[in-house]
C-alpha cells in the first residue's frame, strides 16, 4: 500500500521534472494501457476467464463516444456515460450467452473471440456511419473542471494527469474488490468452480458481474484512449489487440494489480525506447514475450517482492 502511494506521488511529480513531450506521451499510453491491462486481469486473474472480448469492449465504447461527439455534437461526459453503458449492455449479453451455456476455458475464449470479431466486422462494414477501415479522425477534446476553472484537456501534461487518474482509479477499484468478499468469491470460482457452487456461491451471478464490470472498465479506458489519440479505427476491436492485453498481463504477472501495470509499461515503452525499424520492433516484441513466458511463468512481478495475496 505504501509502495503504491509512493509510486503515485512519484508519477504525479514527474511532469515537474521532465518537459519532454515524448516521455510524457509514452507515459500516457502506458498509463492507459496499464488501466486496460488491470481491467483485463480483473476478469482473467480473478475468475480465470480468458476473455478475448476485452478489446471489443474497449473499441466499442471508443466508437460510441466518438460517434456521439462528432455526429450528434453531444458533450464529452454524457457521451462517456452512454459509451460505457453500451459496453455494459453488450458485455451483459455476451456474459449471459457464454455463462448460461456454461462455456469454459478454451471454448469461452473462442466464443468471446468470435463475438468480438463479428462486432469488429459489423463496425468495419457500416461504412456510412463509421467510415470503414479508414477510421474517424476528430479534433474534439474533453473539458474538465479544475479549481482554476474549466480547461480543455489537450496538452501532454494535462493528458498525463488525466490518464494517471484513470490508472489510479481503475487500479484502486480492482484492488479494493480483490480484497473484499466479492474478490474471494471470484477467486473461489477460478480455483474450483464446482466447489464454489457447493459452498453457496452463485457462480453465474459472480462470473456475470465480474465480466460486465471488467468490460465496462475497458470501455471507460477506450473512450479516453480514443479522445487522447483523436482517432478510432476498427483495429481497436481486433483479436490482436485483445492478445496484446493478455501478453501485458502475463508479462507482468497475473493476480496482482501491479503486475499488469508493469507489463503494460514494458510492452508500451519498449518500441518507443529502442529506436529501430517497425519490423525489428515486432521481432523484439515476440522474443521478449516468448522469453518471459518460458523463463518467468509467473511474470516479472515474481521477481520483485513477495506475493501478499494467498490465492
Amino acid at each position: 500500500m505504501k509502495t503504491a502511494i509512493f509510486a503515485v506521488a512519484l508519477a504525479a511529480a514527474a511532469p515537474a521534472v521532465t518537459h519532454s513531450d515524448s516521455i510524457l506521451t509514452i507515459c500516457i499510453y502506458a498509463f492507459l494501457m496499464g488501466a486496460l491491462a488491470v481491467s483485463f486481469n480483473f476478469i482473467f486473474g480473478l475468475t480465470g476467464q480468458l476473455s478475448l472480448f476485452h478489446a471489443a469492449a474497449f473499441g466499442l465504447s471508443a466508437y460510441v463516444s466518438v460517434l456521439l461527439v462528432t455526429r450528434l455534437h453531444w458533450g464529452f461526459w454524457i457521451s462517456l456515460i452512454l459509451a460505457v453503458l453500451a459496453a455494459v449492455i453488450v458485455a451483459a449479453a455476451v456474459a449471459t450467452l457464454c455463462f448460461r451455456f456454461k462455456l469454459r476455458e478454451f471454448y469461452f475464449a473462442i466464443v468471446t473471440m468470435a463475438l468480438s470479431e463479428i462486432l469488429r466486422l459489423w463496425i468495419q462494414n457500416w461504412y456510412e456511419l463509421t467510415n470503414g477501415t479508414l477510421g474517424i479522425s476528430f479534433v474534439q477534446k474533453p473539458e474538465i473542471w479544475t479549481p482554476y476553472g474549466y480547461i480543455t484537456v489537450s496538452s501532454s501534461t494535462s493528458w498525463y494527469f488525466v490518464s494517471l487518474t484513470i490508472l489510479v482509479a481503475v487500479s484502486a477499484l480492482c484492488w479494493r474488490l480483490q480484497q473484499s468478499w466479492v474478490g474471494r468469491a471470484f477467486s473461489a470460482i477460478r480455483l474450483n468452480e464446482q466447489l464454489a457452487e457447493t459452498m453457496g456461491i452463485d457462480v453465474f451471478a459472480y462470473k456475470f458481474l465480474n465480466f460486465v464490470l471488467g468490460s465496462a472498465l475497458a470501455g471507460l479506458v477506450g473512450v479516453f484512449y480514443a479522445f487522447y489519440t483523436g482517432f478510432v479505427e476498427p483495429d481497436y476491436l481486433s483479436v490482436t489487440q485483445s492478445l496484446d492485453i493478455v501478453a501485458m498481463v502475463l508479462l507482468g504477472g497475473v493476480n496482482s494489480v501491479a503486475g499488469p501495470i508493469l507489463g503494460a509499461f514494458i510492452l508500451t515503452a519498449l518500441p518507443h525506447v529502442i529506436d529501430m525499424g517497425a519490423e525489428v520492433r515486432v521481432i523484439l516484441y515476440g522474443v521478449v514475450l516468448i522469453v518471459v513466458i518460458l523463463a518467468l511463468p509467473k511474470g516479472l512481478r515474481s521477481l520483485v517482492g513477495r506475493e501478499r495475496h494467498a490465492t
Binding site: 462455456l103 473462442i110 470479431e117 459489423w122 519490423e279 525489428v280 515486432v282 515476440g286
Partner: protein
C-alpha cells in the same frame, strides 16, 4: 444463377480444403500436446514463401519446391518444438502466447526479407476444365485432390499403424498409453512436427493458387481453428469436412448476403455449434 452457385460452391470447397489441412494440424496438436498452436499460421506463411523462393528465385520445378519447403519448415517446426513448445505442454494460455510471439517474429521477418508486396508464382498448370457450362481451373482440381489424399493418408496412418493407434491411445489416456510402452515425449514431438509440415504443405499449395503475402497466416489459422471446432476437436476426416463446409458456406453465403461480412458467417456458425453441440458436427460423445 445455378451456375453461379455451383461455381461458388466449388471455389468454396477448394479454399475450404486449405482451411481443412490447417484444421487437421490444429486438431492433432491440440489432442496430443494440449496447445492450440496459432503458430501453424506462421509455418504456413513460411511454406508458401519457401515454395515461391525455390520455384521463382532458385528455378526448381514446382513439385520438388513444395517438398523442399515442407522439409525446411518441418526442421523449423522441430526446432520450435524442442526450443519452445516442449515447455508449454498442456498449458493452453502459455502455448497460445508463445505461438503469438512466434507469429510476430515470423511475420516481421518475412516482411523484412521479402517486403509486403504480394508474390505470385508463375502458372504451374494453366488450363481449365469445362463441364456443363461450369469452368474450373485444372490446378485447383489437382490441389484439392492432393489435399484430400493427404488427409486420407493421415487418417489411414493414424488408424492402421501402431504409431497412429498409440497417438489415439495417448489422446484418450496419457498415463495408460505411457504404461503400454508409448514413448510419449517422442510422440508429442512427432505430432507437432507433422502438424507444422501439414501447414507448410497448405502454404506451398496455396502459393500456386493465389498471390501470397505475410498476413495470410493469421487469416488461415483463424479459419483452421474455426474449422477444427466446427468439425469437433479430434476428428481427423472431420477437420477436412469442417473446412469445406466453412469454405462453401462463406462463398455461397456471399452470393445472397453482403459479401463484406463473409468472414462473419463462419463465426456465427461456430458460435451456434459451440452453444448447441460443443462436441462439433462430427464429434461423438465428449
Amino acid at each position: 444463377m445455378i451456375q453461379v452457385v455451383v461455381t461458388q460452391m466449388l471455389n468454396g470447397a477448394i479454399v475450404g480444403a486449405l482451411y481443412g489441412i490447417v484444421a487437421l494440424g490444429v486438431t492433432l496438436t491440440f489432442c496430443i500436446t494440449g496447445v492450440v498452436n496459432f503458430a501453424l499460421g506462421a509455418f504456413m506463411v513460411l511454406g508458401a514463401y519457401f515454395t515461391w523462393w525455390c520455384h521463382e528465385v532458385a528455378g526448381i520445378p514446382y513439385i520438388p519446391s513444395v517438398f523442399l519447403a515442407v522439409l525446411a519448415v518441418s526442421v523449423l517446426g522441430y526446432l520450435a518444438d524442442a526450443g519452445l513448445f516442449r515447455f508449454t505442454r498442456n498449458h493452453l494460455v502459455n502455448g497460445l502466447l508463445v505461438s503469438i510471439g512466434l507469429i510476430s517474429i515470423v511475420e516481421a521477418s518475412v516482411l523484412l526479407i521479402w517486403t509486403a508486396t504480394p508474390k505470385n508464382l508463375s502458372y504451374v498448370l494453366p488450363g481449365v476444365i469445362r463441364v456443363a457450362g461450369i469452368s474450373v481451373s485444372q490446378i485447383k482440381l489437382v490441389i484439392s485432390a492432393a489435399l484430400v489424399a493427404v488427409v486420407a493418408a493421415t487418417y489411414v496412418g493414424l488408424t492402421r499403424t501402431w504409431f497412429g493407434r498409440s497417438a489415439f491411445a495417448y489422446a484418450q489416456n496419457p498415463e495408460a498409453a505411457m504404461l503400454m510402452g508409448v514413448n510419449t515425449a517422442r510422440l508429442e514431438t512427432m505430432v507437432f512436427v507433422y502438424s507444422t509440415s501439414l501447414a507448410a504443405l497448405g502454404g506451398g499449395l496455396y502459393a500456386s493458387l493465389y498471390s501470397i503475402e505475410p498476413s495470410l497466416g493469421g487469416f488461415y489459422i483463424l479459419k483452421g481453428v474455426e474449422a477444427a471446432i466446427l468439425a469437433g476437436v479430434g476428428e481427423v476426416l472431420g477437420s477436412l469436412a469442417g473446412g469445406v463446409i466453412l469454405g462453401i458456406s462463406e462463398n455461397v453465403g456471399s452470393i445472397y448476403l453482403p459479401s463484406a461480412l463473409r468472414d462473419a458467417y463462419g463465426l456465427v456458425f461456430l458460435i451456434l455449434i459451440l452453444l448447441l453441440k460443443p462436441a462439433g458436427l462430427f464429434g461423438g460423445k465428449k
